[in-house]
Symmetry: C2
Subunit: 334 residues, 2 copies
C-alpha cells in the first residue's frame, strides 16, 4: 500500500484529493492533515481522503508522495517540521502560487535524499475551503512543474504523471520565469479586482453606484473574493514581479486616459479596442496557449518511467496515461 | 395592431426583440431595421422580428414605440433622420451606454409631441451581433430609465412596463448621475480589461507568459472582447466620468503597490484583501444592490396606468406585471 499525504486540505488540497480519488489509483491511500481539524474532517467527509492524520509527523510517516497545499508563507514552516522526518526516495511537491521562495526553502529545509518537485496548478476559484473543492478543477489547466536541481527523473515523472492523470497540462518552467509570468496573468488580475472594489466602494456615492453594477463589474471583481491569506502570501513572495506589472498596467491605463482626453480620439481609441480584441481572440484560440488546445502534447521528461507509474498507480491508470492518447483526453472538449 | 420598431438589430436590439416576442405581446408587431441588411435579416430569422424594414422612415412610420439600439454615436444621426417623421404620442427610447449626450440630442432633434424616455439595460455579453442575442439577457438586470423632461407619465410607464415584462429591473436615474455611476462600474471595468490585455500582450515574453494565463486572466480580460465601436462611443460621450475613474483606480493601484513594497507589509495587505472581500460580498448579497434581491419592488411612476398596459400588452402580460408579484418573479432564483 502506497501513501500520498496532503498537507493543507483547503480548496486546492481537497480538490487534489478528490481528483486523485476519481482516477482510482491502485493500492494507494490518501491521507490529509490541516492546522484546522474541521477542514481535514470535512475533506474526508467529501471523499478526498482515506484518513485524517493528527499532525505533520504522522502525515509524512511512510508517505511516498507529500503534497504541501498550504498558503505560500506556511510552506516554509511545514518544510522545517517535516524535513528531518522524511525518508529517502520520498517525493515532496507543493501547490504554491510563487516558486522562487519555495525552491529556496526546499534547499534550506529538505534533505537531499528526497526529491522536491515544485508545482503550481493554475486553477482555483474565489471561494476557498474544502466545501468548494472540485475534482474537475484541474482539467485542461496548466500545471507548472519546477523541480529542485538534483531531483531524480523518476520523482519528477511521478508528479508529471499525477498532474496529467487528473487532467492538468504539465508545463516545465524555471522558478524565476514562473514568478515573473504569473505576476502578469495571475497576481496582476487579482490585484486589479481588489483595486476595482477598493476604488469604487470608497466613493461616498457607492450606495447608489452599486445599484448599477452588473455582470461586467461582477467578472472583473471576482478575484477580490479570493482567499486573503493566499493573496497576501503571493504578493509578499513575489514583490518584484507584482510591482513590475502594476507599473506596466498603470502606464497602459495612463495611455488610454490620454487617448480619451484628446479632442478627436475616435480612430486611436477604436484601434486600441480592436487590438485588445484581436490579442484576446488570439489567446483564446490557443495560438499562444498550447495548454488550451486539444492536440497539446504533454511534455515528457528525458527518461520515461512507465514501469514506475504502473507500480505506483496500477496498470489501469498507466494505460490511460501512456496509451494511445484517447483515454487521456476522455471527456475533454475537443 | 400596434407596432414596435427596433433600430439597430445587433446584440441588444435582437435580444430585445426576442425578449418581447417571448412575453407574447397581444396585437403587436415588431419590426427592425439596420444599416447592415444582413443583421436585420438575421434578427428576423432568429425570431426577434415580424418584419424587416428597408429604411428608418419605413421603420418609424405608424410605430407606437421606437427603440434605438445602435452604438451611442449613431443615435444622434438616427434622431436627426426620424425626428421629422415621428407623429404625436410616439414613445422613443434608446439603449445607449451613456445618457447625457443622448438626452441633449433628443432635445435637439426630437419634436416635443413625442415622449423620449432614455433607457440603458445593464446587460450584454462580449460577443456582439444578432447571432449572440438571448431573450433572457435582461433577467434581473438593472434597466436605467432617464425620461426627457416633459415626457408623459404614460410614455414613461410604457417603457417601465416593457422593461419589467422582459425581466429587467427599472431604475429611475438622472442622466449625469447615470453617466458618472456607469463610468465606475461599467466603463472602468472594460477599460481595465483592455489595459490588462494591452500591458501583458505587449511584453516581448507574451508568447511564454500566455501559456500560464488561466481562468482569472480570462475573466478579468473578458470585456476586452466586446464591441470596439460601442466601447469607443461610450468613452467619447463620457470623457469626464471615464477620466475620473481611471484616476481613482490608478491611485488605488499605487496605494496597493506601496503596501507590497513595504518591509513588513503583512497585516496591511491582509486587511486590504479582507476589506475588498467583505465589500464584494456585501455587494453580491444585495445589501447595496436592490435589483439583485428577489424582494425588490419595481419602482412605479406617480400615476399607474394599468389600463394602458392592458391595452398595449394584453391582459395576460398585464397580469404578470401587476399581479401578486409571484408571476413577475417566476423562474428567477430566490
Amino acid at each position: 500500500m502506497d501513501k500520498i499525504a496532503i498537507i493543507g486540505t483547503g480548496l486546492i488540497g481537497t480538490s487534489l484529493g478528490l481528483a486523485m480519488k476519481k482516477i482510482k489509483l491502485k493500492n494507494v491511500q490518501i491521507v490529509g492533515v490541516d492546522l484546522e481539524r474541521y477542514r481535514s474532517n470535512r475533506a474526508k467527509k467529501m471523499g478526498a481522503l482515506d484518513r485524517v492524520e493528527g499532525n505533520l509527523a504522522e502525515a509524512v510517516s511512510d508517505s511516498n508522495i507529500v503534497f504541501i497545499c498550504t498558503p505560500v508563507m506556511a510552506i516554509r514552516e511545514v518544510m522545517e517540521v517535516i524535513g528531518p522526518r522524511l525518508t529517502e526516495g520520498v517525493v515532496v511537491t507543493d501547490t504554491g502560487g510563487t516558486k522562487r521562495g519555495v525552491l529556496n526553502w526546499a534547499k534550506e529545509f529538505l534533505p537531499e535524499k528526497v526529491d522536491f518537485v515544485g508545482g503550481h496548478p493554475l486553477a482555483g476559484r474565489e471561494t476557498p475551503g474544502p466545501d468548494n473543492a472540485d475534482p474537475e478543477m484541474f482539467k485542461d489547466r496548466p500545471y507548472c512543474i519546477v523541480p529542485r536541481p538534483g531531483a531524480s527523473t523518476e520523482g519528477v515523472q511521478q508528479i508529471v504523471d499525477l498532474a496529467s492523470a487528473i487532467g492538468a497540462r504539465p508545463y516545465f518552467i524555471d522558478a524565476d520565469e514562473h514568478d515573473s509570468f504569473v505576476a502578469a496573468v495571475s497576481h496582476l488580475p487579482f490585484i486589479m479586482s481588489t483595486a476595482l472594489i477598493g476604488a469604487t466602494s470608497k466613493s461616498p456615492q457607492w450606495g447608489d453606484i452599486s445599484h448599477l453594477a452588473s455582470s461586467g463589474f461582477r467578472d472583473v471583481s471576482r478575484l477580490a473574493s479570493g482567499d486573503s491569506i493566499m493573496h497576501r502570501d503571493v504578493c509578499l513572495t513575489n514583490k518584484a514581479g507584482v510591482v513590475h506589472w502594476i507599473n506596466e498596467l498603470v502606464a497602459e491605463l495612463e495611455r488610454i486616459k490620454g487617448m480619451v482626453q484628446k479632442e478627436s480620439p475616435s480612430q486611436e481609441l477604436y484601434d486600441l479596442f480592436e487590438k485588445a480584441f484581436a490579442e484576446r481572440e488570439r489567446w483564446l484560440a490557443g495560438v499562444t496557449t498550447p495548454w488550451a488546445r486539444a492536440d497539446y502534447e504533454r511534455p515528457q521528461t528525458p527518461t520515461f518511467a512507465r514501469t514506475t507509474a504502473e507500480l505506483m498507480f496500477g496498470s489501469r491508470a498507466a494505460e490511460g496515461l501512456f496509451g494511445d492518447g484517447k483515454k487521456d483526453d476522455k471527456g475533454r472538449k475537443k
